[in-house]
Subunit: 271 residues, 2 copies
Amino acid sequence: MTHTPAIAVDPAQAASDANASIAPALTPAFSPLYQQIKGLILQSLQAGEWKPGEAIPSEMELAARYRVSQGTVRKAIDELAADNLLVRRQGKGTFVATHAEQHVQYRFLKLMPDQGDIQSEGPALRDIIDCKRQRASADVAKALGLRSGDAVLHVRRMLSFKRNGEFIPTILDDLWLPGVPFKGLTMERLAGYRGPMYALFETEFGVRMVRAEEKIRAVNPEADQARLLKVGPTTPLLCVERVAYTYNDVPMELRRGLYNTESHHYRNELS
Amino acid sequence: MTHTPAIAVDPAQAASDANASIAPALTPAFSPLYQQIKGLILQSLQAGEWKPGEAIPSEMELAARYRVSQGTVRKAIDELAADNLLVRRQGKGTFVATHAEQHVQYRFLKLMPDQGDIQSEGPALRDIIDCKRQRASADVAKALGLRSGDAVLHVRRMLSFKRNGEFIPTILDDLWLPGVPFKGLTMERLAGYRGPMYALFETEFGVRMVRAEEKIRAVNPEADQARLLKVGPTTPLLCVERVAYTYNDVPMELRRGLYNTESHHYRNELS
DNA sequence: CAGTGGTCTAGACCACTGG
DNA sequence: CAGTGGTCTAGACCACTGC
C-alpha cells in the first residue's frame, strides 16, 4: 500500500529518492511521519490557530486531517507534551500549555525556601521598581537577536517572600524585552497585573515563553542592588542570567536576577 | 481474549477487582502493563542481571519472556531510556547506561567555561587532597540515610581547568560516601584512576549513580577553602550541594562543591 | 451515555549495524 | 545477509470526564 499523507514529503518517497540518487545527500533528510506531524502542529501553535489554555482537536480529528493513523498523531503529541508545549488530560482533551492557570505560580523559578514546603510561604510580594524604554546595549542586543540601539524595554522588579511574618526582599530582577512585540507595555500594566509575568505576556502580547537557558554565577552586588536587597556590599549573591525563548527558538527576554540565598536555594535535578 | 502475562497482577484483573470491591481502595492501584514491565526490568538492573555497558535482551526476547507484545516492552524501555537508565542504539541493541565510555566526561557537571566550546578546554587536572574514614555527622547521616556516627568515607579533591596555558583551581569538592558499600576505597585507588569518579564507583563497587539533586547557594569560602582555590576570603563562590542516588532512590553520595565562577558558569535549561 | 486520551496487540515494513 | 531498534497502521478495549 502506498500511503500519501497530506504532507510536503512522503517519508517513504523521500527515503527511496535518497537511496536512488547517485550522490546521496550528506544529511539523508529522512524524517519520520510523526516528526512531520509534530512540525505541522507546531506551526499551528505558532500561528495561533489554538491559543494557550484552549483544547486542540482530538487525536482522531487530527489523524483525519493529516490523513494519518491515530498512533502517529499520538506520538507527535507525546513529544510536544514532553516539551511542555501541550498538556494532555485524560477524558478531556489535549490543551495548549499556558503560564496562567498553572498550579505552580512561577514555572521557571527554581528558587526554593531552605525549609518548609514548596513556594507556599504565601504569595510573593512583587514591586515594579522601574520600567522604561531604552536603546539596546551590545550585550542585550546580542542576547535578544537585535542590533545595538534597537528599542528595548527595561524592567526592574523585586520579589519579596514572607519569613517570620515579614516580607524579605529576595530576588532583584532586571529584564529586557524587545520593543516591537511588547509595544504598549507600561509600569502600570505590570504593577496592576495579578499572576505570573509570563501569563501577562501571553494574554496581552501573544508572546508565549516556551523554554529558557540560565547561566548562574556567584557575585557581589552593585551599590544600588545592595541597597534594594538590604544586604551588605560583600554579601555573596546568585546571579542568574536567563534568556527565554518563544516558538522557533526566538529569544524574547533577557533577565538578570540577583538571588539572596541566605534562606533559599536554587534547586536542580540531574539525570 | 483474556491475556495473562507472567506478572504479579494482571491489570485487567486488578481493575475489575477494584471496581467490584464494595470499598474501593483510595488508590485504585491500577498500573498499566508496560509500567509493570518497566518495574521488572528495573529489578533486573538493580540485581545486576545486566551490567553497565552491556546489552539487555532484544525487545522480541523480552516480549517473549514477559508474555507481552513487543510494543508493550517498547514503551517500558522508552521510559527507562528517557530516565537515562538505558541507551538505545538502532541496529545494535539496548544497553545499560554507564558513566564510563560516555563521550561527555562528567555527565552531572553543569559548569561551563564562559567562552569557548564544551568542556574542551582540555582534560581537567584532578587532585585528591584527602580521603579518610570518619563517623557521620548529623547532617551527613541524614542526607545519606544513615545514623549519626555510622562509618562514612570523606574525600576532598580539586578540579583545575586549563586557561591561557595554566591550570586554575576551579572546583573544590568535599564528598561523603557510606562506609559499607565503599569498603576498600582508598586515596591511591582514587588518584590512580583515569575517568569519571562515578565510573570507578560502577566498576569497582557496583554502585551506579542514577540521578541527583542539587541545591545551589552563593557563599564565601572558609579560610582553608580560600587557600586551596587561591582566592580571597570575600570572593563570592557557588556552593553546590549534591545528593546522588542509585536505583530505588537510595542516596549514595553527598557532595559539597565550591565553584569559582570567575570564568565559568553553571548552565541550566528550563522547559 | 458519548467523547476523550491511554493501553495493548499483531503484523508489516523501514533504517541501521555488523559479520 | 540476519538481527536490532524505529515507524506506521488498524482495531479492540479500558479509564476518565462531563453531560
